[in-house]
């Protein structure tokens, strides 16, 4: 599997550290405990196109959001997490 880093180009997945789904959004401290339990522990665990964080540890050290098909391992797209969050 090779990931397309917007800064470094297409690189082996070996250079990246996966963190899992990019979908959970961190609640604010004021939100009820149920939202926090859901954020920390529960996942949609999608079979299909999945947005997920990868850290380019052995490259530009950027956090990326990779859209990847979890059934075929096809890479659909890559974005820089910082730009998505902004």
């Amino acid at each position: 599997m090779r990931l397309n880093c917007p800064y470094c180009g297409t690189r082996s997945v070996n250079e990246f550290v996966p963190l899992g789904s990019a979908s959970p959004k961190r609640p604010t401290l004021a939100e009820p405990i149920e939202r926090w339990i859901d954020y920390v522990y529960f996942r949609d665990n999608i079979a299909g196109e999945h947005d997920e964080y990868f850290y380019h540890a052995m490259g530009c050290r950027s956090w990326l959001i990779v859209t990847r098909n979890t059934v075929t391992h096809e890479i659909i797209g890559t974005k820089i997490a910082r730009e998505v969050a902004a």
């Binding site: 599997m1 082996s12 997945v13 070996n14 550290v17 996966p18 899992g20 789904s21 149920e34 339990i37 920390v40 522990y41 529960f42 996942r43 949609d44 665990n45 999608i46 079979a47 999945h50 997920e52 990868f54 990847r68 979890t70 059934v71 075929t72 391992h73």
Partner: protein, 416 residues
Amino acid sequence: MKYSIFSLLSQAFQGNKGWSTAWRDAQPKDEYDVIIVGGGGHGLATAHYLAKEHGLTNVAVLEKGYIGSGNVGRNTTIIRSNYLLPGNTPFYEWSLKLWEGLEQDINFNAMVSQRGVINLFHSDAQRDAFARRGNAMRLNGVDSELLDREQVRQIAPYLDFDNARFPVKGGLLQPRGGTVRHDAVAWGYARAASQRGVDICQNCEVTGVRIENGKIIGVETTKGFIRAKKVGFAAAGNSSRVAAMAGLRLPIESHVLQAFVSEGVKPLIDTVITFGAGHFYVSQSDKGGLVFGGDIDGYNSYAQRGSMPLVEHLMEEGVAMIPMLSRLRFLRSWGGIMDMSMDGSPIIDKTPIEGLYLNAGWCYGGFKATPASGWCFAHTIARDEPHKLNAAFRLDRFATGHLIDEKGQGATPNLH
């Protein structure tokens, strides 16, 4: 037909023409008392114990492919009960006890081989941690022995004891651990359950569940609607997808775990050995191939195949531990999809839906748990309450904070 030395001899004289099929390949009926979704090791074991321990024989096991096509045939066949935490140790020890009596129970040769499992340690700190684990096991009545370097050398002289980076300082041995032929586990449980009247329906995929007033009434399948009083999900790897049909969201991610087998060689490794400075475990099958595995690839996957970087990493670990492995060719590799739970421990519990039960989240510890998982799940379904052995494997423990986190890793499923 009961398998015995007499049936074997009698068939030998009849040219082996009289063997009957091991289990009935059933078509689903319209209605069952219990439906088990998933014809893997755990599902088939559940059906067996439902029939044997609880007298429930109007039971169907629905499998989308053929039985044994999933994780029960994709693991490295290791059994052990060397766990640390109170919620885990008695459960896995019960599993090991069931393994010890399995072949008599199901009248099937599963080649249960208690050849011992050695976890190597490579530093003084790791020795302390393993001594603690061994003591915890003994307190729970589980066998364990802390071996020093010379004792390990007597068992496994081929290890790289003086590796500059990872010298072998000793190992924690569980003598009763070992291996079991995994296909025979699926076939043996299927045959035993089938003989008691359980219907094993292959190529019958569950496509939906029907719930009325918060109570389950049956499942939609590729072979039509089947009514059921109770339904148990045992579809690890795909638990999230199956649970989603009932509107449940789980604390689970699906990940791929690879396993490997080498070319066959003469008897070489007569135990199970694990590397303590990484994650690598190896044993030798009766055919002669070395069977080994390591960590999951680290990213979510339903693909049943892994990627090359982990293959390379695993080979490096193997050679660091046993240098002669560099001279061996490996033949095959395969991947299985693991239910990686958020604390590294499984779930065997009721669900918020009446009559629906969940068996999930086995991470990569599912095979060794097969008998106890089926036994406890059958109890949970039949009595509508968990047995004390699986009482800690609750679905709501993530909300209440009663996690069972052997590695102390936190909610990071790809690191358990």
